[in-house]
């Protein structure tokens, strides 16, 4: 291989590399300038769109779903007969397992003052099946709702629950405001 030939080859290589680098740089700058943002995103459920289908329990890639029931206490009526806590026709209004709607017994019911009872979710036990959410929003105030818990969520690039959600209640939200909580209307 003569000196001249090698030089020619080098020039070709240089042009090749230069063209590639130019395209990549232009593409990178375009993407960064026009389409990139500093905000990271996480998945969250819009409680107003959720129809409590039960997919959150089964579709999450985690063995126990990262979706949990969350309680907006300010909206709760503190009812004695809570339709999120009790089976449709409970034998009696006590904490007996046969009366409870929750399959894992994750809702703790405690007496506050006559006639009010408080309901607190034990998220360790909750599996995100949404049975209580359905009971509460069908017949009660709708103070129970589902949320993705970010201490558990792996934040998969394609959330597998989102892919299976019939009401498309899942959406990407900014990571610094990672919850879509329910509030009393009067609180705004």
């Amino acid at each position: 291989m003569g000196e001249e030939q090698r030089k020619k080859l080098n020039r070709r290589e240089f042009l090749r590399f230069g063209a590639g680098a130019g395209i990549a740089a232009a593409g990178g700058v375009y993407l960064a300038a026009a389409h990139a943002g500093a905000d990271r995103t996480v998945w969250q459920i819009d409680p107003d769109k959720c129809i409590q289908c039960g997919n959150c329990k089964t579709e999450c890639v985690l063995a126990t779903s990262a979706v949990k029931c969350v309680h907006a206490f300010a909206m709760c009526g503190y009812c004695e007969l809570c339709t999120g806590f009790f089976e449709p026709q409970p034998n009696s209004l006590n904490e007996g397992a046969e009366n409870q709607l929750c399959p894992t017994g994750a809702i703790k019911r405690s007496f506050v003052e006559d006639p009010y009872y408080e309901y607190i979710i034990d998220e360790e036990l909750c599996n995100g099946c949404a049975k209580c959410v359905k009971g509460c929003s069908s017949f009660g105030n709708g103070s129970l709702f589902l949320q993705v818990r970010h201490n558990l969520c792996l934040n998969c690039n394609q959330c597998s629950i989102a892919a299976a959600c019939p009401s498309r209640a899942f959406r990407r939200v900014p990571a610094d405001h990672p919850y879509l909580l329910k509030h009393r209307e009067t609180e705004g």
Binding site: L31, V61, F73, G77, N157, P166
Partner: protein, 415 residues
């Protein structure tokens, strides 16, 4: 008067709200404190930047190990580290492979802006491929590492099969871009065969698919990387232009062909002496193929356009529209969840159908481009095969060499 009006106006939302509350929240006599609704925060932003820094460092180290140190052992150690860090510790998300779809979505959906860290994940391995070849594949990608570690007895894939299967990554890339752009799901992430292992959980069929790839990977070197990985397709293109690359021997090649046997990915080409092929014949073939290119693009593009309708069924809006239409036609029985959810939004059926129709048309338009892309890839492959270059020594193919550094260990000229 004005004050009364103002009071009524201020009370109006209150009245509306009481309509929602079937059981008004109590005023506790004993001053019971309402518990706080806990909101555990998302992963700190800093961690994402650390991931990018680790990625950049690992890429730099990989380039140094492959091109300067020429150390297979170093590459192996880095590979194990990447598998543990990006794979089992970071659970394989976000990876550059999946980031293709985030980039696509950001370009086509103005309401989504890609996080700068995800963009860095997408661009860094490409930039390194332009400089140093596929060093990302060699020892930074956890999916590649998982397959490389199980590689037990590599078999040679017949050349014709290797070339044919080698087209699949480009097809998969086109499909993933089309589906991400039109707002279906991210299929690369959904059907990633190794991520279920990193997470230690997943659906049964994905675990079976991943297991099958690992078993296959014992005999076929990096089957996923070579015959499916869409990011591998991009890196392949980038590394063809790379400034520096793997040179098998540091000295003069003695043509012992040990490197060719050592390469489990069939990426080493034999020397081909000049004048073996007839030049006129070759020119005729090349000319014919170049003429074939637009015809092939148009033909496959047409096929793509026809498959647009089928592809559009992966879109949730179109699925919902289909179900709503079915429900409107035969209203007996309980409506499915999708229909219930749609009815609750209070939107008109016609509005939904119109949206679905315009979406379907965008899939058909995208189908043209997708098909055209596949036609282009096939034609370019044929053209590439018909160009016979004179090669003096055994050489690593620019695009398909994954810089695993195995050939160095076998070269008798290596010190």
């Amino acid at each position: 008067m004005a004050r009364i009006l103002l009071t009524i106006l201020m009370l109006a939302p209150l009245l509306a709200a009481t309509g929602m509350e079937r059981f008004p929240p109590p005023e506790f006599k004993a001053g019971h404190q309402l518990p706080e609704t806990a909101t555990p925060p998302a992963r700190e932003a800093l961690r994402a930047y650390i991931d990018v820094a680790v990625l950049a460092a690992a890429l730099g180290l990989a380039a140094w190990l492959v091109l300067r140190r020429r150390s297979r052992r170093g590459v192996f150690v880095l590979m194990v580290f990447s598998l543990l860090y990006f794979g089992f510790y970071r659970r394989g998300c976000v990876c550059p492979i999946g980031a293709i779809q985030n980039v696509t979505l950001a370009v086509f959906d103005s309401s989504y802006s890609i996080p700068i860290t995800v963009l860095a994940f997408f661009l860094l391995p490409l930039a390194f491929a332009l400089l140093f070849g596929r060093v990302f594949c060699s020892s930074v990608c956890p999916l590649g590492a998982a397959q490389d570690l199980v590689l037990f007895r590599p078999l040679k894939v017949p050349a014709w099969l290797g070339h044919a299967l080698g087209l699949l990554p480009y097809v998969y890339l086109g499909l993933a871009v089309l589906l991400a752009a039109c707002g279906s799901s991210f299929i690369i992430c959904q059907y990633d065969p190794f991520v279920p292992f990193f997470r230690m959980s997943g659906s049964l069929h994905m675990l079976i698919l991943g297991g099958a790839f690992l078993v296959l990977g014992m005999f076929v070197g990096r089957a996923y990387c070579r015959f499916l990985c869409p990011y591998g397709a991009l890196l392949n293109l980038a590394s063809r232009l790379s400034r520096w690359r793997v040179t098998i021997t540091p000295d003069e090649c003695v043509k012992c062909r040990l490197c060719e046997d050592a390469c489990p990915f069939d990426a080493i080409r034999k020397p081909t002496p000049a004048g073996v092929f007839g030049r006129t014949e070759g020119r005729m073939l090349l000319g014919g193929l170049i003429l074939l290119l637009p015809a092939l693009m148009a033909a496959v593009g047409c096929l793509g356009n026809m498959s647009g309708s089928a592809l559009s069924r992966t879109n949730r809006t179109i699925q919902v529209a289909e179900l709503v239409r079915l429900d409107a036609r035969t209203p007996q029985g309980d409506p499915v969840d999708e229909v219930v959810a749609f009815r609750r939004t209070g939107r008109l059926d016609a509005e939904l159908f119109q949206e679905a129709e315009s979406l379907r048309r965008s899939y058909e338009r995208g189908g043209w481009l997708f098909g055209g892309w596949v036609g282009l890839v096939i034609a370019m492959k044929l053209i590439g095969l018909s160009i016979r270059r004179t090669r003096i020594d055994y050489e690593a193919e620019r695009g398909s060499c994954m810089a695993c550094a195995r050939c160095y260990r076998w070269c008798p000229q290596e010190l």
